[in-house]
Amino acid sequence: MDIQRLKPHFPWITLLVLVTIVGIADPSFLKPANLLSLAGDIVPLFIMALGLTFAIYIGGIDLSAQSMANMITVVASVYLAPLGIWVAGLCILAGFTLGTLSGYLTTRMYVPSFISTLAVGGICFSVAQWLSGNRALNMDATQRNETFGWMIGRTGVVPHELFIAIGLLAICLLIERRTVLGRALKAVGAGELAAAASGLNVARYKILAFAISGGLAAVAGLLFSVKLSGGAPTIANGFLLPAIVAVLVGGTPLTGGVGGVLNTAIGTLIVAVIRASMLYFGIAATQQQMVFGLVLIAAIALTIDRSKLRTVK
C-alpha cells in the first residue's frame, strides 16, 4: 500500500480510529442515536468553523467569528419580536457586512486579518453590549417555536441541526469545488500574486471570503440563540478556539490553498469526539485540559498532509 496515496485520507482515518477507541472503552458510545446526537450538538460550532474555513483557505484568519456570533445572539433576541422570520435576514446581513469590513481592512488597507478581524470583533462586542444593555436576553418561547422551531427539532433520531449542517456543507462544498468563486479562492490561497497576474479581482474574492466567514458566523450565532432561546454578549464565548482547531485538525493549514470544507466537517467531528472522550474515559477534572492538549497534538500530527506544505511554519 502506498502511503502517499493514503495521505489525503488521514483525517477521516484519524476520526475513525478515535471513534473506535472510544467505542472499545464504552460500546454504548457507538449507538447511532448517540453518535447522531453528538453530531447534532456540535452543529453551531461546525457552522462557525465552516465559515472560518473560507478565511483560512485564502491564507487569512477570522478572529471576529466568536464576537460576531455573540452579537448575533443579541440581535436575534432583540429583533425576533418585531421582525419575525426576517430577523434571520438581518442577522446574516449583519454578519456579511461586518465580514466585508474585515475583508476591506485586510485587502485595501493592508491590515493583517489577524488584527483586522480581532478589531472588528471588538466592534461586534461593543455593539452586543450596547444593544443588550449588558444583560442576558431571552426570546419569547412561543414565538421562537413558531418562527424557528424547525431548526432545533428532531425527526426520528436525527436532530434537525444536522440537516442544516449537511445543507450548508453541501452548498459550501459545491462552491469550493465547482464554482468560479471556489477556484478563485484556491488560487488566492495557493498563489495570490499569480492569481492577480491572471487578472482575477483578488481583492474582491478575498473580501468575499471574509464576508462568507462573517455570514456563517452569524448563522452559527442565530442557530445558537434559537437553541438557547436567548442571547447575551458573552454567550458564544468558547467557540473560537475549538472552531479554529476544527479547521486545522481537518487539514486546512493556515498557509491556505489546501484542504477545504469537507476537511472541516471531519475536523469538527474529531474535536467533538475528543471532547466526549474525556467523559467516556473518565478523565479527572484537573487533568482534562492537559489531556485535551496532548490528544490534540497527536491528532494533528496524524491528520496533516505534509506533502502539500512546502515549508512548515
Partner: protein, 333 residues
C-alpha cells in the same frame, strides 16, 4: 405530574461547572465530593463536566453524559449563561434524568413548569449582601468621599446585582459619590490595571473601593501597594480563604461567604435524591424548588470565628437537610 415516583437505582452523579482554575468552583466541587462520599462512594465517582465558560460545551457535555448513562443520572449544574439553562434542563427531562441548577437561569424558567426532572434552582441574592458590604465601606469612609466599583463580566447576573447593592446603599449616603463603575471581569490582573487607571483619573478623590469579588480585590490591593497606599477601605465578595485572611489582617474590610461547599453538595444531593425517589419534587412547596442560598458576611470582628468554623475544618453537613441553611424563595422583579 402524578406519575409513579421516580426510582433510578444508583444514578451516576455529575457536576457541570465553569472551570477548575478558581477557588470558588473548587469549593463547589469539594462539596459535591463530600456528598458522594456520604453515599459511601469514592470521591472520583463524581463526574466533572467543565465548560470553560462556553455554554456550547456545557450543553454538549451534559448531553454526552446523558447519552453515556442512558439517562440514569443526577446532574448538578451552573448553566454558565442564563439562556443556556432552558435547553439543558429540557435535554435532561427528555432523557428522564434529574437536574438541580444554581446561579444562571432566565426568569421565565421554573422547575415546576418543566417536570420533576428539574428538581430545583438555587441562587444567591447578591444585592442585599453587596449593599451590606457597601454600608460597611461607607462607614469606614466616614460617610463621605468617593468610591469606585470594579465589577464582574458586565452581563453576568451576579455582577449586575452586586453593583445594584452598592447603588442601593448609596441612597443613604448623600455625601458619597460613585466615581465610576467598570467591569474587571472577575480577574485579578484586570483588577490591578483598572485600579491603576482609576487612580490616575480620580487620584485622591478615591477614598473607598467596592469590588465585585475577591479576585478583583487582590488586584486592587496590589495596585494600591505599588503606590504605597496602605489604608484604603476595600470590600469584596465570595469569602475565599485568602480573602478571609486579608480581612483578618485588616487589608480588606469585609467579604461575603456564600458557602459554595454546602451549595455544591446540596445541589448534587437534591438531584440525586429526587432521582432515587427519596422525595418527589412536585410534592414540595415552591420555596423548596427555587430558593436563595445562604450568605455569611465576614468582617474583621468575626473573621477568626468564621475561619475556624468554615475553613480550617470544613463542617460536615447533613446532605438530606436540603433546605436548612437556605434563605427563602427567589423573588423576581
Amino acid at each position: 405530574g402524578g406519575a409513579a415516583r421516580a426510582a433510578i437505582s444508583d444514578p451516576a452523579i455529575a457536576w457541570s461547572y465553569r472551570d477548575r482554575a478558581s477557588a470558588y468552583w473548587n469549593s463547589i466541587v469539594s462539596g459535591g465530593e463530600a456528598f458522594v462520599e456520604s453515599l459511601g462512594k469514592p470521591k472520583d465517582s463524581l463526574v466533572s463536566l467543565i465548560n470553560e465558560g462556553s455554554s456550547e460545551k456545557s450543553l454538549a457535555d451534559i448531553k454526552a453524559f446523558l447519552a453515556k448513562t442512558g439517562g440514569k443520572c443526577a446532574i448538578a449544574c451552573d448553566a454558565n449563561d442564563s439562556p443556556n439553562a432552558r435547553p439543558v434542563v429540557e435535554a435532561v427531562r427528555d432523557a428522564g434524568a434529574y437536574i438541580s441548577t444554581i446561579w444562571n437561569k432566565t426568569d421565565d424558567l421554573h422547575p415546576w413548569d418543566i417536570s420533576d426532572n428539574y428538581v430545583s434552582h438555587m441562587t444567591w441574592s447578591d444585592e442585599k449582601p453587596a449593599e451590606q458590604t457597601a454600608r460597611i465601606l461607607f462607614d469606614a469612609m466616614g460617610g463621605k468621599g468617593g468610591v469606585v466599583h470594579l465589577g464582574g463580566i458586565a452581563a453576568n447576573n451576579p455582577a449586575i446585582e452586586r453593583l445594584n447593592g452598592l447603588k442601593n446603599a448609596l441612597k443613604d449616603f448623600p455625601d458619597i459619590e460613585l466615581l465610576d463603575a467598570q467591569p474587571a471581569d472577575w480577574d485579578t490582573t484586570k483588577g490591578t490595571e483598572l485600579m491603576a487607571s482609576f487612580l490616575t483619573r480620580f487620584g485622591d478623590k478615591i477614598t473607598g473601593v467596592h469590588c465585585a469579588n475577591d479576585n478583583i480585590a487582590y488586584g486592587v490591593i496590589e495596585a494600591l501597594r505599588a503606590e504605597g497606599i496602605e489604608n484604603m477601605p476595600i470590600v469584596a465578595y465570595d469569602g475565599n480563604p485568602e480573602a478571609v485572611k486579608l480581612v483578618m489582617d485588616g487589608k480588606l474590610l469585609a467579604t461575603v461567604f456564600t458557602n459554595p461547599h454546602w451549595g455544591g453538595g446540596i445541589t448534587a444531593a437534591l438531584a440525586y435524591y429526587a432521582a432515587t425517589g427519596a422525595f418527589k419534587p412536585s410534592e414540595e412547596p415552591k420555596e423548596h424548588r427555587e430558593f436563595y442560598g445562604p450568605t455569611v458576611l465576614v468582617t474583621k470582628k468575626d473573621a477568626a470565628d468564621f475561619k475556624a468554623k468554615y475553613l480550617d475544618a470544613v463542617p460536615s453537613y447533613n446532605w438530606k437537610d436540603f433546605w436548612g441553611p437556605s434563605n427563602g424563595q427567589i423573588k423576581y422583579k
